[in-house]
């Protein structure tokens, strides 16, 4: 007959009363060291570097929206003086009339500044240009699909962003000093 040793029942317990304290400590550390800052900004892709500009072909006038911000803060859009808050509406008209044109006939916005132009003014102008594109896309999505851009299917969104209303912003070649 096999003898079974009677197991002694012992209470084994890891003391966990202090665990929450330790975890609190960790939590505090992360709370203090956390910076939840999202990087926000205006994205752009610079044009390729050109050794000599003479080799390039100029754009046709109806595709080009040349924006110049000079050092006094005056804005020229296609040689007409306008104020910075007017840029958005003016560009929206031109973007809108090119929605159905093929890709190589879309509007190109060229932004140029003087060396002494204030950076903030340049950002404000660029903001207006970006805003014009964003709003035109929203309006197009609303009028064509009856929904906001972000609620559409991914491929429809892509089509609007890439084929219908592509954002072509070019930074003009700075002048040589």
């Amino acid at each position: 007959m096999a003898l079974m040793k009677k197991k002694k029942e012992r209470e084994t317990k890891i003391p966990d009363a202090g665990m929450s304290d330790i975890v609190f400590l960790l939590l505090l550390f992360f709370l203090v060291s956390t910076t939840i800052d999202v990087d926000t900004g205006i994205g752009l892709t610079l044009p390729e570097y050109q050794e000599n500009i003479e080799n390039t072909v100029p754009l046709s006038a109806d595709r080009l929206a040349a924006l110049l911000v000079n050092e006094n803060g005056d804005v020229l859009l296609n040689k007409k003086v306008i104020a910075i808050p007017q840029i958005k509406e003016t560009l929206k008209l031109r973007i809108r009339e090119k929605i159905d044109l093929p890709k190589n006939k879309k509007l190109v916005v060229s932004v140029k500044t003087d060396r002494k132009t204030n950076y903030n003014l340049y950002i404000q102008a660029l903001d207006q240009v970006k805003g014009a594109y964003f709003e035109t896309r929203e309006e197009y999505a609303m009028s064509t699909y009856g929904a906001e851009l972000n609620d559409l299917d991914a491929d429809v969104q892509d089509d609007i962003r890439k084929n219908k209303i592509p954002m072509i912003i070019s930074i003009a070649e700075p002048e040589k000093i």
Binding site: F30, T35, T40, G41, L46, E48, R115, K116, D127
Partner: protein, 137 residues
């Protein structure tokens, strides 16, 4: 007459056994959401504000360039010269081919310095940039 406080017959303890779990959950959230402060910024700057802004989704791709209100330029942890930018950014671009260069430029700066940095970036083909701005309220 002696008053005696009435006590409920049931247990009167708040169960705290799951408190560590809850705190662990909070802890995990902060651990995931944390990005440690990576740089000591040596220049003083105030970012401009704009409305039509986007988020940079992938922070790993970002390389920062600071321009302070005294026209000093900082990359990584060092103040650098205009001539050095090309070399530094070339190395960055080789390490991360689709690097995004984020401009943190003081809003009082002149465009001249920004244009110069941009020309340097174009030369080394690091052409994705982002002007860091705050949201206009």
């Amino acid at each position: 007459m002696k008053f005696e406080k009435k006590r409920a017959a049931s247990k009167q303890e708040i169960p705290t056994s799951s408190m560590p779990d809850i705190i662990f959950m909070l802890l995990l959230f902060f651990m995931v959401a944390t990005t440690m402060k990576e740089f000591d910024v040596l220049v003083t700057y105030k970012l401009p504000e704009a409305e039509a802004i986007e988020k940079i989704e992938n922070k790993r791709l970002v390389s920062y360039v600071w321009v302070g209100n005294d026209e000093r330029i900082q990359i990584n942890d060092n103040l650098v010269d205009m001539k050095e930018i090309g070399e530094i950014m070339y190395a960055r671009r080789v390490a991360i081919p689709n690097v995004i260069v984020s401009f943190r430029v003081d809003k009082g700066s002149d465009m001249g310095i920004v244009l110069d940095i941009q020309q340097e970036l174009r030369k080394v083909d690091a052409r994705r940039i982002n002007y860091s701005t705050l949201l206009k309220q």
